[in-house]
């Protein structure tokens, strides 16, 4: 029996070195360690896909991009179905830094910026010989830099004092992969943010692929975005030039009919850039804007057009393609494909570029005829007569009005324009101070980043 005991002890402890007991060596099956995540062309491409994917978030271009500016400016508002606090707060321009939707918007836009910076840094660390075809490595970096510029520009326009080049109150820039030690980025000044955005866009203009589809970054899309950035930055000559480049590139044509934009969607000839959406990668646009009784499908109707919008839109030929009346009330119909879920987010389309050029010319000493021509390009397509405005001042007013009718509920332009034109306080009674021109910075950032202070007034 002694032998047996020795045998069994030996049996038991002999296994300590065998495979059964090597239980501590576990590797994640569904994740990659960061050291091995981006090592070659194929992994660089998948990481770039990950950056694009971030645009689809409901807190970013998947929904909130249409709601923030539209509601803040007063053209859109809450309905009897609204439950979202952010909607009520934006309606009264009393946004709460603790509001969950606001916090999520801040977080998810930065998420895109961080993913982009991971791609930029890690792919810069590779060489063309790591399996990249042609200049694909540089193209990947260029696409990522465009997406980072877009994220920074969106953050600046909502949370920073984008209209004031001398303001220190820009936004934190996310130019390196986020880690514990670089997480407390201070606010860059507005000028620094613009400089960084322009540097990224210049790289993208020089290196991004030629236009192939609306859902991927192209050099011409970077030019278009830079035109819009220049307009915000008040570099009007530059804005007019860049807009002209886009218009004359011949890559995009205005749709013959306004309503065709929303029929052709991602294939629209005037769409410059939108994130991809489909039934599987669906957006939340339609669900949150259609009424429960909508003929287009039963929605939640979290936001609906206000009287401020329906009165200016009344009688315009674009009315039917913009809003519709249902048993519950008036709804926006620019995102009509509830089931298919493939309505774009209109980040950039040609009509806006015409109007950017018109305004930029008006503000940089352009000729009245040139300004009118750009404005009329949009009006003609809409089915309207040429503008009757004939002075620069009247044209500026007409351009702002046109942008509301043409672009409302698409990318917040109605809100930013009213700030840039400095007439938001006349437009909306609840805006009484320029502090309300920016959303408060997410409380999560203020609480955890010692280098960031909340914007004044919040």
């Amino acid at each position: 029996m002694k032998k047996l005991s020795i045998l069994s002890l030996a049996l038991i402890f002999a296994f300590t070195s065998c495979e059964v007991t090597e239980v501590l060596e576990q590797e994640p099956a569904q994740s990659l360690s960061d050291a091995t995540a981006i090592v070659d062309a194929q992994s660089a491409e998948t990481a770039l896909t990950g950056v694009y994917s971030g645009l689809q978030s409901g807190n970013y271009y998947g929904r909130m991009h249409l709601a923030w500016g539209a509601v803040l400016s007063g053209y859109m508002g809450s309905t009897s179905q609204t439950t979202r606090n952010s909607t009520f707060q934006s309606e009264t321009n009393t946004n709460d830094p603790n509001d969950n939707t606001l916090k999520a918007t801040w977080q998810f836009i930065y998420r895109v910026a961080n993913r982009a910076s991971n791609v930029v840094t890690l792919v810069e660390g590779l060489s063309d010989s790591d399996g990249f075809a042609g200049s694909r490595r540089t193209q990947i970096i260029a696409e990522a830099r465009f997406l980072r510029a877009l994220a920074h520009f969106d953050l600046l326009s909502y949370f920073g004092r984008h209209w004031d080049n001398s303001s220190p109150l820009g936004i934190p820039l996310r130019l390196e992969p986020g880690n514990v030690s670089n997480s407390e980025q201070p606010r860059a000044t507005v000028a620094e943010v613009y400089a960084s955005i322009n540097e990224d866009l210049d790289f993208a203009i020089a290196n991004a692929p030629a236009f192939s589809s609306t859902v991927s970054v192209s050099s011409i899309a970077a030019t278009a975005l830079k035109a819009k950035v220049a307009l915000f930055q008040q570099d009007y000559a530059q804005a007019a030039t860049l807009a002209n480049t886009v218009i004359n590139s011949g890559t995009f044509q205005l749709e013959a009919s306004y309503s065709d934009i929303f029929v052709n969607r991602l294939n629209s000839s005037e769409l410059i850039f939108s994130p991809f959406f489909s039934q599987i990668e669906g957006s939340g646009h339609s669900f949150f804007i259609l009424t429960p009784s909508s003929p287009l499908g039963q929605g939640r109707w979290d936001y609906g057009p206000t009287a401020q919008f329906t009165s200016v839109m009344s009688g315009d030929p674009r009315e039917a393609a913009s809003i519709g009346t249902t048993a519950d009330g008036v709804e926006v119909v620019k995102y009509p494909n509830l089931t298919a879920g493939d309505d774009p987010a209109y980040v950039l389309r040609l009509a806006e570029i015409h109007l950017i050029r018109a305004e930029a010319l008006a503000r940089s000493g352009g000729s009245v005829a040139d300004i009118q021509a750009e404005l009329n390009a949009v009006r003609t397509r809409a089915g309207l007569a040429n503008t009757t405005a004939s002075t620069v001042a009247d044209l500026l007013t007409a351009i702002q009005a046109e942008k509301v009718l043409e672009l409302a509920f698409e990318n917040g332009t109605e809100w930013f324009d009213a700030i840039r034109y400095d007439n938001i306080q006349a437009l909306k009674a609840s805006v009484t101070s320029d502090n309300q021109y920016v959303l408060p910075i997410s409380q999560d950032e203020v609480d955890n980043n010692a280098n960031v202070e909340q914007s004044p007034g919040y």
């Binding site: 029996m1 050291a35 981006i38 994130p275």
Partner: protein
């Protein structure tokens, strides 16, 4: 055996040596049972400390010759309490023996072994099978709630088989789990909800509970290891205590007993919130509209479009709740032959939930075998197989929840249209429609182990066991086209998948018992253990089904998404324990465990967890022998370390994850930020206590004081979101728990026909967060209703303090600025920071979900065969955040219905109220988290009331020659009576049941109910 023999010989020699000095005399007497006075034959009677003994005859008489004066007689007999009686000068000593009421000789299960209760040095709470039999329990919650001091059982909601949470001596962790380790028959098992989420965030707190697949009729005992001495043998998993569940086994040579049990009953939900009827709703809604500057809606607006002129008045609560049936049948057989002992059982349990569309079914079977092959080799196995099927409904904060919807849907809608279609209301789905969502969770579980034990030399035991805990969890959701969720993406929507878990454990131990002489004995145990837990899940979603009958994925035209995951963790451990017993007076236990975990960072692979405990059995000291009232007194102290590693498998790594799909292509993106120093959380506990038995076991009790410090707490330290992440996991925090626990039991009346016993316990735990990341608060969990703050308890509610209600516009303008829309009738909040404006900085701590005291007590009265048992449970001093007040009473911010309590809202003519005005949009944000939602959650609940009748044995004996050995008929009510000031439906609910800091939130949570059952138990 050899050692024992030697001991006997030594004792015998001593006795023999003394013999010459004594004069012979005899003591005689009769031994009877205290219960019925009948004689007990076969009782061992021995002179203490000698081999001099005898046995009582058939009439219970004995006679023993003494060899010396004085001394003590020890009477012992199986099933009766051993009695020691001093002889003195008496020559006749009669004894009434009592049935073994003392717990001292009870065998208590401890980690990797058993101990007699008298030899325990640690703090172990024990719940015996007779306390949990014949109660319609499904989960461990009902089995041990209120029965073990210091164990707080928190049930999520009224879902049968639903989620439950245990806190042993408070919460030790913030980020990692606070659930104890569950060990069933030596196998550390999985107790985690395996639900994988779903559209609209899944089911809220309504997930299932994987311990619910255990059949409680199979359970022999539950032990809860509370202090470090008891728990440290489980090392890095023991910080939250260890729950040892032991199932029944046969005994060799035991006559086979077949036991059948059936009960049936029904459950009624507690009294539900009283919602506004249509007339009241119209009044408040229009008032709220006018207050917001909107126009009042005409009465015609509220009429039924199909029935002009008629305003429906629907009681939605009545429509979605029902009286639910409950039944269980179980059969078991237990016995043993010469070599093999067995226990086998089978159970069917079926419960409806009071909320339509909910229910729980369980089928389970078990075989436990023990076989002794020869003197030195034995084998055994335990196999339990179970199937459970839980039908669930989303609730809590999910818009497809029927209860969520019933709390909000306006009463002027009819449930259905003339064609049968569900009426579209102001909610996502109307409550009746919401009950049509099918959410079924099925679990198939195999818990199996085989072991052998050899004893090559006496008292040396080598044991090896291999165990498997296999769980296959399947979720099956189908949303028909009759509900909105089923029409959103196409016609019908389904999500089906499984999450399978395979946990393999191989454990080997060597134990040795050595008695050095009659005063010293030592037992030792060393062991090694390997455990690997693998998970694999698949979840598929599809839409466009041909109709609502064909619900399988192959019927769907459009696949939407398929996801899946694999993950694993491993634990490699070495452990040991030494017990030293000096003369049954001083007991010392030392344990140590070294755990290596794949979850820890490369540089921190192994954690070591030692403990030491000392106990002094005062009653065995010479000076205590004169204290005849004192049966037993033991003073204990223990100190040691335990750990917690219940966090993410790869929490230390910087990770990229796949599945970020764009334009049909899957991408990767950073998913976790790295921390290469991540390790276990460490808890050090000091426990001092005593156990006592008095007056011939009439009174027993125990007391414990403990203090535990947990440091290296894993915290998801928040990161500024500009980093692309919101958190990183770090070992940073500290928490302290101190408390006392008292358990007392007394036989108030103890005669042969009538007994009355009261046992009860009370525990007080004080929890304090000592250290957080940079001392900064963590805005925790769920809706941001709680805060974790240094110097406060973990479950602290956080929000604005209501000062009162503004009565005039002047009051508003005199007060600190709130919002632009603030008007008379709105709450005035406290300007805590005195800056003249009400901002987030003015939020203060409003209360805590942690009770000051909690416990339970049981009254058992036994008259002949009739038993009446009333078990009460209580919790004192805890607060509940009643979020149902938020949109249900304190605001009418949109078209949602509210409770009748809102009728007392502020109006210019009803100013003496604490409910603010109703106004659409709630411009003042009266619904922000505030003190008006925090209520006293103390309660006393009669948890069970049982009336049972055991047929007298005389009657049973007359039937077929005593074919029946036991017949018991019982009636039982659970939750019959609740005394509480809480205004919500059920003080025992918790929306965020499994989080450390979100307990005590009642947010649209499916309430529990009262259950009445009738049952019969027959043994052959």
């Amino acid at each position: 055996m050899k050692a024992n023999l030697r001991l006997l010989i030594v004792c015998g020699l001593i006795a023999f040596g003394l013999q010459g000095y004594a004069q012979d005399r005899t003591v005689s007497g009769k031994v009877t049972s205290i219960d019925d006075g009948s004689a007990i034959p076969g009782v061992n009677v021995i002179v203490k400390g000698t081999t001099n003994g005898t046995v009582t005859d058939v009439d219970g008489n004995y006679k023993i010759t003494l060899t010396s004066d004085g001394g003590t007689l020890v009477f012992s007999f199986i099933g009766y309490e051993t009695a020691e009686i001093e002889i003195g000068t008496r020559s006749v000593i009669d004894l009434q023996m009592s049935i073994d009421a003392t717990e001292l000789s009870e065998v208590v299960v401890i980690g990797y072994g058993t101990s007699q209760k008298k030899d325990l040095t640690g703090s172990v709470a024990s719940v015996r099978s007779d306390e949990i039999q014949n109660i319609p329990v499904i989960g461990i919650d009902q089995a041990i709630q209120g029965k073990a001091a210091g164990v707080n059982v928190i049930s999520a909601n009224g879902q049968p088989g639903g989620n439950v949470s245990l806190r042993v001596r408070g919460s030790t962790s913030i980020q990692a789990s606070n659930e104890p380790l569950y060990v069933i028959d030596g196998i550390p098992v999985v107790n985690q909800a395996l639900f994988q989420g779903g559209q609209f965030g899944g089911l809220g707190g309504q997930t299932s509970n994987s311990i619910s697949d255990l059949n409680w009729s199979d359970v022999e005992s539950i032990e809860i290891l509370k202090d470090a001495s008891a728990a440290a043998i489980y090392g890095s998993r023991a910080s939250n205590g260890v729950v040892l569940i032991t199932t029944k086994r046969g005994k060799r040579g035991q006559k086979a007993t077949l036991s059948l049990n059936y009960y049936r009953g029904q459950t009624e939900v507690f009294e539900l919130p009283d919602m506004l009827n249509s007339a009241q709703y119209i009044e408040l809604q229009n008032e709220a509209r006018v207050n917001a500057g909107l126009t009042a809606r005409p009465l015609t607006f509220f009429e039924d479009p199909n029935n002009p002129g008629v305003t429906p008045d629907t009681d939605w609560m009545d429509i979605i709740f029902r009286t639910a049936a409950v039944q269980q049948f179980d059969a078991s057989v237990r016995g043993g032959g010469e070599a093999t002992a067995y226990f086998a059982s089978f159970t069917v349990n079926d419960q409806e939930g009071t909320l339509r569309g909910t229910g729980f079914t369980r089928l389970s079977g078990r075989i436990n075998l023990d076989s002794k092959v020869n003197d030195w080799l034995s084998f055994g196995s335990n196999v339990a197989i179970s199937y459970t099927d839980g039908a669930l409904q989303a609730n809590d904060n999910f818009i497809i929840g029927p209860y969520f919807s019933a709390l909000r849907t306006a009463p002027y809608f009819t449930p259905q249209q003339p064609g049968g279609a569900f009426t579209v209301t102001n909610q996502f789905d109307n409550p009746l429609a919401a009950t049509q969502y099918q959410n079924n969770n099925q679990t198939y579980r195999i818990l199996a182990s085989g072991f052998f034990e050899i004893e090559p030399i006496s008292n040396l035991k080598i044991r090896s066991s291999l165990s498997l805990d296999y769980n296959n969890f399947q979720q099956d959701q189908f949303w028909p086209t009759t509900v909105l969720g089923g029409r959103l993406t196409g016609s019908g929507w389904s999500q089906q998948g499984f999450n399978q878990q395979r946990n393999v454990i191989w454990e080997n131990t060597v134990s040795y018992l050595k008695e050095i002489n009659d005063r010293h004995s030592v037992t030792g145990l060393v062991g090694a253990s390997w455990q690997e837990d693998r998970r694999y899940s698949v979840l598929s979603t599809a839409t466009n089904f041909p109709n609502d009958q064909l619900r399988t994925l192959n019927s769907a035209a459009t696949p939407l998404q398929t996801t899946g995951a694999r993950t694993a963790n491993g634990l490699n451990s070495f452990f040991g324990r030494v017990n030293y017993n000096f003369d049954d007076r001083v007991l010392v236990t030392g344990t140590v465990r070294a755990d290596g975990s794949s979850r820890f960072a490369e540089d921190e692979r192994y954690g070591v967890f030692p403990s030491i405990a000392v106990a002094w059995r005062v009653s065995n000291e010479a000076f205590a022998s004169g204290l005849s009232f004192l049966d037993d007194l033991k003073i204990r102290a223990s100190y040691g370390a335990t750990g917690n590693q219940q966090f993410g498998n790869f929490a230390s790594r910087g990770l990229f994850q796949g599945g970020f799909v764009y334009n049909g292509v899957s991408g990767i993106a950073p998913s976790q930020i790295a921390n290469d120093q991540l390790k276990w959380e460490n808890t050090v506990t000091l426990d001092i206590g005593f156990d006592f038995t008095l007056l011939n076991s009439r009174i027993n009790g125990s007391f414990d004081w403990y203090s535990s410090q947990t440091d290296d707490l894993l915290l998801n330290a928040p990161l500024p979101p500009n980093s692309g992440f919101t958190t990183v996991t770090r070992n940073i925090g500290e928490i302290e728990n101190t408390g006392i626990e008292v358990t007392l039991g007394a036989d108030i009346i103890r005669t042969s026909d009538f007994t009355w016993n009261i046992t009860g316990n009370i525990a007080a735990n004080r929890n304090e967060v000592k250290k957080l990341v940079d001392g900064s608060d963590i805005n925790a969990t769920g809706f941001g209703q709680s805060i974790i703050r240094e110097g406060e308890t973990l479950n602290s509610f956080f929000g604005h303090q209501v000062v009162g209600i503004f009565q005039t516009a002047q009051d508003v303008s005199d007060a600190p600025t709130q919002t632009a829309g603030t008007a008379p009738g709105d709450f005035q909040f406290l300007d805590a920071d005195g800056d003249g404006a009400i901002t987030n900085a003015d939020r203060v701590i409003l209360g805590t979900a942690q009770p000051d005291f909690l416990g339970g007590f049981t009254n058992s009265i036994n008259y002949k065969g009739l038993e009446l048992i009333a078990f009460f449970q209580y919790s004192i001093g805890n607060e509940i955040l009643n979020m149902n007040l938020r949109d249900g009473v304190l605001s009418m911010r949109n078209a949602d219905n509210v409770q009748t309590a809102a009728l007392n809202r502020w109006t210019p003519t009803n100013t003496n109220t604490d409910i603010p005005r109703m106004v659409i949009g709630d411009p003042n944000q009266n619904r922000r988290f505030n003190s008006a939602m925090v209520e006293d959650g103390s309660f006393l609940r009669m948890k069970t009331l049982t009336l049972a009748y055991n047929l007298p044995s005389s009657l049973l004996n007359s039937i077929y020659d005593g074919f029946l050995s036991n017949v018991r008929i019982y009636a039982q009510a659970t939750n019959l009576l609740t005394i509480t000031d809480y205004s919500g439906v059920d003080p025992e609910v918790s929306t965020f049941v499994n989080t450390s800091s979100g307990n005590g939130v009642d947010n649209n949570t499916y309430p529990g109910g009262k259950t009445y059952t009738l049952g019969i138990n027959v043994s052959f």
